[in-house]
């Protein structure tokens, strides 16, 4: 009898379906991997199993008995011990206090730490400990509960390889004890080396369970991909009419083809050499990466939200090291974030949202030139065909229109380089199509566009060229024509040419 059986589990958030129908069977004495591309529903399923959220329909059976997991505490009661993606210990308590808070046996935790040859002072404040130690503490705490099922969500992402080896040793031991492990990782090599079976999620459905073997990573990748590419391409329509017209303010004075942005050895992750690439005016360069490979830092550095620890950035031939977003914007580098609420003033009218970057100009002391503002705003609205019926408050717009608003702001203000971080996340296909057309038009007008997307088919639809980032290094660079999903995913999993090094 399997220890855990998940059948037809579904979850929706309002109109967004996060999980359509997930199935999962975990036997006692096995290490089971849960795989899927970004947005396939892995984290939703994990949240359901750990009691963070509740599923809408479907059944979860533990040891043959149907269960309802209502809370993290409930998950522990049925014998699950999760190690979450982010450290779970409270920063303002000592380690020992954290253990007592969760009613964990301190002796047992210490024993596990000893067996993993880790010495941690339990009276230390959690906030003072380095991230890898916190991950290992979370693991030791989970083990101390002696769970039937150990759930490890991306635990190796923040670990150096010596500690990762210790995690794998623990997983094997757990299997030998007749217990189960659910292992979630983006690193296929880890899965083939350590897991007995793997279930693959795609678009919120379980599409298969297989035995992962070394050398057959590409088979798994194919299963993760399925037919999404053709469906998406069909719904988008690779060519588009392009009713959008770019405002003259956006047309940069740079001739097409000159390097607009150069990044040299920028350190964004484990890799000390960092990433290097060049973005030309009039070009859309894609950045493909799985979650947490350093792409967030890359965009943060370029947008002036954080300062890099190593490497150089050059904009239009001049060294570029913005200390604040204000400085980046002044140099013509603007950001369209995935989280629209980071860019919008939700309580304010559309007009003010679009005009807000105009107020930044230091040269514009004195009253705001309403006429000029109205002209620019209207042009941007027309260019993007923003639905302006909900004039008064930006938060009343649909997600797609909100995203258009975040782009429209820069159209009105003018820029040379646009950084788009997953700009089509959670918006409808029609709006997506308009945004693709708009980005293309911006590029044709001479702008440089850097586009990170979690939907890999978009790379071929929108970009001219793409780089693939894996663990803080560029593992692939290819023209869009070659950047089909298998090629991208292979590089994004660090397979291919870098595999030899690992």
């Amino acid at each position: 009898m399997p220890f855990l059986e998940v059948q037809n589990v579904a979850k929706r958030y309002g109109p967004v379906v996060a999980l359509k129908s997930a199935d999962l069977v975990v036997e006692p004495g096995e290490v089971h991997a849960l795989l899927g591309a970004n947005g396939a529903g892995k984290s939703t399923l994990v949240k359901i199993l750990t009691g963070v959220i509740r599923h809408d329909s479907g059944t979860i059976t533990v040891d043959g008995k149907p269960v309802r997991i209502g809370s993290p505490e409930g998950a522990r009661k049925v014998g699950f011990a999760p190690v979450f993606q982010d450290p779970a210990m409270l920063p303002d308590l000592t380690v020992a206090q954290n253990l007592r808070l969760t009613r964990t046996d301190i002796g047992a935790t210490r024993e596990w730490l000893d067996r993993m040859e880790l010495t941690v002072d339990l009276t230390e404040m959690t906030a003072d400990l380095p991230l890898p130690t916190l991950r290992m503490l979370d693991l030791a705490r989970a083990l101390a509960r002696d769970p039937q099922l150990l759930m490890l969500d991306e635990i190796t992402a923040a670990l150096p390889s010596d500690l990762a080896e210790k995690v794998f040793a623990v997983m094997r031991e757990w299997r030998d004890r007749g217990r189960s492990v659910l292992f979630i990782s983006h690193r296929l090599a880890e899965v083939t080396a350590n897991c007995d079976r793997a279930s693959v999620l795609r678009d919120g459905r379980t599409v298969g369970t297989l035995v992962p073997k070394s050398g057959e990573e590409e088979k798994i990748v194919e299963l993760m991909l399925g037919t999404t590419r053709s469906e998406l391409a069909e719904s988008i329509g690779a060519d588009s009419g392009g009713e959008a017209t770019v405002v003259e303010a956006t047309a940069p004075k740079v001739a097409v083809g000159e390097p607009q942005l150069e990044v040299r050895n920028l350190v964004v992750g484990d890799d000390a050499d960092g990433i290097s690439f060049e973005l030309r005016a009039g070009e859309i360069l894609g950045v493909a990466a799985l979650e947490g490979q350093g792409q967030d830092l890359l965009f943060d550095y370029l947008a002036g939200q954080r300062r890099p620890s190593g490497g150089e950035m050059v904009v239009a031939g001049r060294p570029f090291s913005p200390r604040t977003p204000f400085e980046a914007i002044r140099s013509g580098v603007v950001l369209v974030p995935a989280d629209r609420m980071l860019a919008l003033l939700p309580q304010r009218p559309i007009r003010e949202n679009i005009a807000s970057p105009l107020y930044n100009r230091v040269s514009r002391w004195g009253p705001i030139n309403r006429r000029d503002e109205t002209r620019r705003v209207q042009k941007a609205i027309d260019a993007l065909s923003i639905d302006t019926r909900a004039q008064r408050q930006a938060r009343r717009l649909s997600g797609g229109n909100q995203q258009k608003l975040t782009i429209a702001r820069w159209l009105a203000a003018g820029f040379t380089t646009m950084l788009c971080f997953d700009p089509t996340r959670g918006i409808d296909v029609g709006t997506k199509r308009q945004i693709y057309a708009l980005l293309r038009e911006l590029a044709e007008a001479g702008a440089a566009v850097l586009l990170f997307t979690s939907e890999l088919p978009e790379i071929q639809l929108v970009c001219d060229r793409t780089i693939v980032v894996y663990r803080g290094a560029v593992t692939g660079e290819m023209p869009a024509s070659e950047a089909d999903e298998p090629a991208l995913l292979k590089a994004a999993h660090g397979l291919g040419k870098v595999e030899a090094a690992a």
Binding site: L90, P91, L101, E117, L118, P132
Partner: protein, 335 residues
């Protein structure tokens, strides 16, 4: 792999580590140093009259209600909340006590006092319950409640009045064993030892720090967040009741409109005492000293013949400077 990871080479369990104690409790120690300096300043301001045990007693007597209010506010702020009705709760308990205890025996007064402690817990729990159930921000709910309780205090007693038996008053104004040990200080110590420290070092205390530190992680750690929030407010209510009883014992009467002054000073004492307004950090012991400091500053001004209004200015400046230093230290630590 040859990488030596920080994580795997951390030194094992250590004995008493003076440096760490200094880092972890540095702020509290600093506040107590400030308190000693202020007491010395007070003695200096009294000169040529000598500083006697009577002066020490009167410092404690003057500060006692605020000390309890500061303890109450600390617990609530550590849990991630704030209670703007605390001072008014102190006033309500104060007037109820003064009107009930007048002409009563000591034994009856004690009985009334215990009853009012329960009332304090209930009022606190009501505040917490409202915050949790309505989801309205703490600051809004407790500000509204401060009007409610403020009105109640005035309904019970329009002008200062009432009374309490001498034996009860001497609980707050007397001395214990030596003339240099004010009974008020003993009561503070007792309440800390009996009502707070046992919680502080057990799961309920960790839970209060946990929800103030990071509510999501606290939930994932299996903490009942709603229940813990209500508990923090209830503990605050208990300390506020102690403050009201202390006001009755030290002044011998009930004063219905002292509330808002105490509320604002309790927040100031919490900040000065090293509790982060963002929650999760600090303790109750620091704010006790901070409350004493805040009462000493205006007294010193008065003895120096300076307009007491300047006392307010200095008091405010003290808070700003101290908190600013704290902020700068934190910035340095981070970079």
């Amino acid at each position: 792999m040859t990488t030596v990871d920080e994580a795997s080479t951390t030194v094992g369990r250590r004995g008493f580590d003076a440096r760490r104690v200094a880092i972890r409790h540095g702020w509290t120690i600093g506040v107590y140093v400030l308190l000693v300096l202020l007491v010395i300043g007070y003695a200096w301001a009294l000169a040529p009259v000598a500083f006697t045990s009577f002066d020490l007693g009167s410092i404690v007597i003057g500060a006692l209600p605020l000390v309890f209010a500061a303890m109450a506010q600390s617990v609530i702020v550590i849990s991630g909340g704030i209670d703007l009705s605390l001072g008014v709760m102190v006033a309500v308990i104060n007037v109820i006590a003064a009107s009930l205890m007048e002409h009563q025996s000591f034994a009856t007064s004690l009985l009334i006092a215990f009853g009012l402690m329960v009332v304090g817990v209930v009022i606190g729990a009501i505040n917490g319950g409202l915050v949790v159930l309505t989801g309205v921000p703490d600051i809004v709910v407790t500000l509204a409640m401060s009007f409610v309780w403020g009105g109640v205090a005035l309904v019970i007693m329009r002008t200062p009045g009432g009374g309490a038996p001498n034996a009860f008053q001497s609980l707050g104004t007397g001395t214990f064993i030596s003339a240099w040990i004010p009974s008020g200080a003993v009561i503070i110590a007792l309440v800390l030892a009996a009502a707070w420290l046992p919680l502080r070092w057990r799961r309920p205390g960790f839970a209060i720090f946990a929800i103030g530190s990071n509510r999501d992680r606290a939930y994932l750690s299996g903490v009942n967040v709603a229940q813990t929030r209500v508990m923090a407010y209830a503990i605050g209510g208990f300390f506020a009741a102690m403050g009201g009883l202390a006001a009755t014992a030290t002044t011998g009467i009930g004063t219905p409109y002292a509330g808002n002054f105490i509320t604002l000073n309790s927040v100031a004492a919490v900040v000065l005492g090293g509790v982060s307004l963002a929650g999760g950090k600090g303790g109750v012991v620091g704010p006790v000293a901070a409350a004493l400091c805040l009462t000493l500053v205006p007294s010193i001004m008065v003895f120096q013949g300076i307009d007491p209004n300047y006392g307010q200015v200095i008091q405010g400046a003290l808070i700003v400077v101290v908190v600013m230093i704290g902020g700068l230290l934190l910035l340095r630590e981070r970079s």
